[in-house]
């Protein structure tokens, strides 16, 4: 099946990415006009009917989140675009913001309108300077067209300072408030107590781009791709041992193996040419074996069978010569470096996992590692510590299966 382009503009679109012409050509002006004529309740109902799920990693139903912010009490409300994109192997928000920044920005304007936010923030990864400039230009275009401003919604860009943890929604809010990017305890959720304790809607770039598309068309159009459970398309970041790395847009339900083999997409495994494993979802993701890849489609139900999830859409391919323990050690270093240090299971646990791997004790002390991993999953404050041992556990499980098989 060829690549689909909905989130990413089709190749015949030649207008400048941040121009007024682009706004019209992509249907985003229509999206703004259509939503401007709707009540908050009607906008939220349409998002709910579309079945959009969050694309930042957790796949939380977007409409439900909007409804929660709308229902929360408080005069002042905020909307936030999460463009901190720092997950390993994840570069799809960057591609989206470079190629078509008006989409996500229009999604943010619609979101702000729906929840009654007069002020919105775009929190962008510090290293993304070109992206930031592009976002600024997109805001300027919307300002000139009268969609952004003091009497509608004002949008401000905030730049991160190079911490993966600042992408976690509550740490991001602290960072916007000028505090250390440490996650907050939940509940209360940002929907009721977010920025400066006011109800706050926070969405990933790609989620907001989907919102713009939805309002440029309608629910039926939106649901023509994807599965009944998870409608729409997803941006996948293909990297590693793959002939054609890059960002590809595919519908949910797409066979994972085709991402690797299709000539218009991955075009096959590079390196040795033989697939060893895929790390799906980035550092916080799960390793999938070739037979598991062959057996799975891009949907949450299909992947749950292997304890996997789509996460941010990072799809890292490893050929069969790669020592996955070496990869695990790299991931462990990433988590140890990026832990904010607030809670004990993650602050010390991520360091101990790294040391275990560096000492080559993965197979010698699986029980101690499992106890540690379980405590990190159970007792860490935020998703970083909770998911840091997930890839490790998927390898431990695999080693265990192998030992059991040889014993038999």
């Amino acid at each position: 099946m060829p690549e689909i382009r909905r989130l990413l503009p089709t190749l015949d679109i030649a207008s400048a990415p941040t121009s007024l012409e682009r706004l019209r050509e992509r249907g985003f002006e229509r999206a703004l006009q259509r939503s401007a004529a709707m009540t908050s309740q009607a906008i939220v109902a349409e998002v709910q009917a579309s079945g959009i799920k969050g694309r930042g990693g957790a796949a939380f139903p977007t409409g439900a989140k909007w409804a929660a912010v709308l229902a929360a009490s408080g005069e002042v409300r905020y909307a936030v675009m999460n463009a901190d994109e720092s997950e390993l192997g994840t570069f799809k928000d960057r591609a989206l913001l470079e190629q078509d920044p008006l989409g996500a920005m229009v999604g943010l304007v619609i979101a702000a309108r729906a929840v009654g936010a007069k002020r919105a923030y775009c929190y962008v990864r510090g290293e993304y300077r070109e992206v930031e400039a592009q976002m600024g230009a997109a805001i300027q275009t919307l300002r000139q067209a009268g969609w952004v401003g003091a009497d509608t919604v004002d949008i401000e860009i905030r730049r991160g300072a190079g911490a993966y943890i600042a992408g976690e929604e509550t740490a991001l809010l602290n960072s916007i408030e000028g505090k250390r990017a440490e996650p907050r305890v939940k509940p209360p959720f940002p929907t009721t107590q977010g920025l400066w304790r006011s109800p706050t809607l926070i969405q990933n770039v790609e989620t907001l781009a989907n919102v713009a598309l939805l309002f440029a068309h309608d629910v039926d159009w939106f649901r023509t791709y994807g599965t009944p459970d998870t409608p729409g398309t997803k941006l996948i970041g293909l990297s590693g041992h793959i002939e054609h790395p890059g960002v590809y847009e595919v519908p949910f339900g797409y066979p994972l193996m085709q991402l690797i083999t299709e000539t218009e997409m991955g075009h096959g495994v590079s390196g040795s040419g033989h697939l060893g494993a895929v790390l799906l979802g980035g550092a916080a993701g799960t390793f999938l074996a070739p037979d598991e890849i062959r057996d799975s489609v891009l949907d949450y139900g299909s992947l749950a069978k292997y304890g996997a999830s789509i996460g941010s859409g990072a799809f890292m391919v490893f050929d069969d010569t790669v020592d996955l323990t070496w990869v695990l050690t790299k991931l462990a270093r990433f988590f140890a470096d990026e832990s904010c240090g607030q809670c004990v299971p993650c602050r010390v646990g991520t360091r101990r996992i790294l040391e275990f791997l560096q000492r080559g004790e993965l197979e010698r002390r699986p029980e101690d590692l499992r106890d540690l991993a379980q405590a990190m999953k159970d007792a860490s404050i935020c998703g970083l510590g909770q998911t840091a041992p997930v890839a490790l556990l998927s390898i431990l499980d695999r080693l265990e299966r192998r030992t059991n098989e040889t014993r038999r």
Partner: protein, 278 residues
């Protein structure tokens, strides 16, 4: 809103005022949960995670120090997952910091049957003692990063904001700003951070010196109550006396005026008193 909520803790039903934390509710039914960073007079930092309990329907365990009781909650304080987390938290802390002066950590380690060696052998917080002023010493190799000192110095008590957490991950540590020595920092030496530190990482200079010399004997210390005479606020002072010498001044955490917090004169002015006496 209802002002009472009813929940189940380890199978026992209990009704508590709305806004009660799970930790307090567990206390009420006589199934207390261990805590390290929680302190009665400070905002819950929920950083140590020793107080986690299992809440039916929740993917992860929840920190009972900061989670409020809700109608119909089903809580377990002694499930296998809870016991594992407590034990691992104790073991991780024992593997990084010196614990002889940390009674809460030692008792957690004991009740959780922690094996101090299980996760040891890697990086630790061993570091030189910071002895840069005459009033208190910072021995951060004992620190468990409970945030108590930061909160006491901040808007929970002192409002000086002289110290904060700096660095991240395993390198996160208590810092007076850019690694400065205390005399160069904003510290006003109220010693309120020292009063709430649960590990001896912040310790009065006199106590630290006597401990170094092997002269500090807990059993030989008597405590005399008095009221501070420097100003008219009426702070209660507990003078800890060893061999006829005041070696430490504290104030009770439940005292209605001080809530355990003092200023530099009350807490460290005793040397001056003793010199005058002579």
């Amino acid at each position: 809103m209802k002002n009472k909520v009813t929940l189940t803790i380890d199978g026992e039903t209990v009704t508590v005022p709305a806004g009660t934390t799970l930790r307090a509710a567990c206390d009420l039914v006589g199934h207390p949960v261990p805590t390290l960073c929680w302190h009665e007079n400070l905002t819950a930092a929920n950083a140590c995670r020793a107080c986690v309990v299992e809440l039916k329907g929740s993917r992860t365990l929840v920190a009972s120090c900061s989670r409020e009781a809700e109608e119909g909650m089903d809580v377990r304080t002694n499930s296998e997952r809870v016991l594992n987390s407590r034990k691992v938290v104790a073991e991780l802390l024992l593997s990084t910091s010196k614990s002889e002066l940390a009674p809460d950590l030692l008792s957690l380690a004991q009740t959780a049957a922690a094996d101090p060696d299980r996760f040891s052998g890697g990086a630790t917080w061993e570091q030189p003692v910071l002895d840069d002023n005459n009033l208190y010493v910072r021995d951060l190799s004992r620190c468990i990063l409970c945030y108590r000192c930061v909160e006491a110095c901040g808007d929970d008590a002192q409002n000086t904001f002289a110290i904060s957490v700096a660095g991240r991950g395993f390198e996160a540590h208590i810092d007076a700003g850019f690694g400065r020595a205390l005399p160069e920092s904003d510290c006003v030496y109220c010693g309120n951070c020292v009063a709430v530190c649960p590990t001896g990482a912040l310790i009065g200079k006199t106590e630290w010196t006597l401990r170094q010399e092997g002269q500090w004997v807990d059993d030989n210390i008597t405590v005399t109550e008095t009221v501070c005479s420097y100003c008219g606020v009426g702070c209660q002072l507990n003078l800890h006396v060893l061999d006829n010498r005041i070696v430490k001044v504290t104030s009770p955490m439940d005292h209605p005026v001080t809530h355990g917090m003092l200023c530099v004169k009350g807490r460290y002015g005793y040397e001056f008193v003793q010199i005058e006496d002579k």
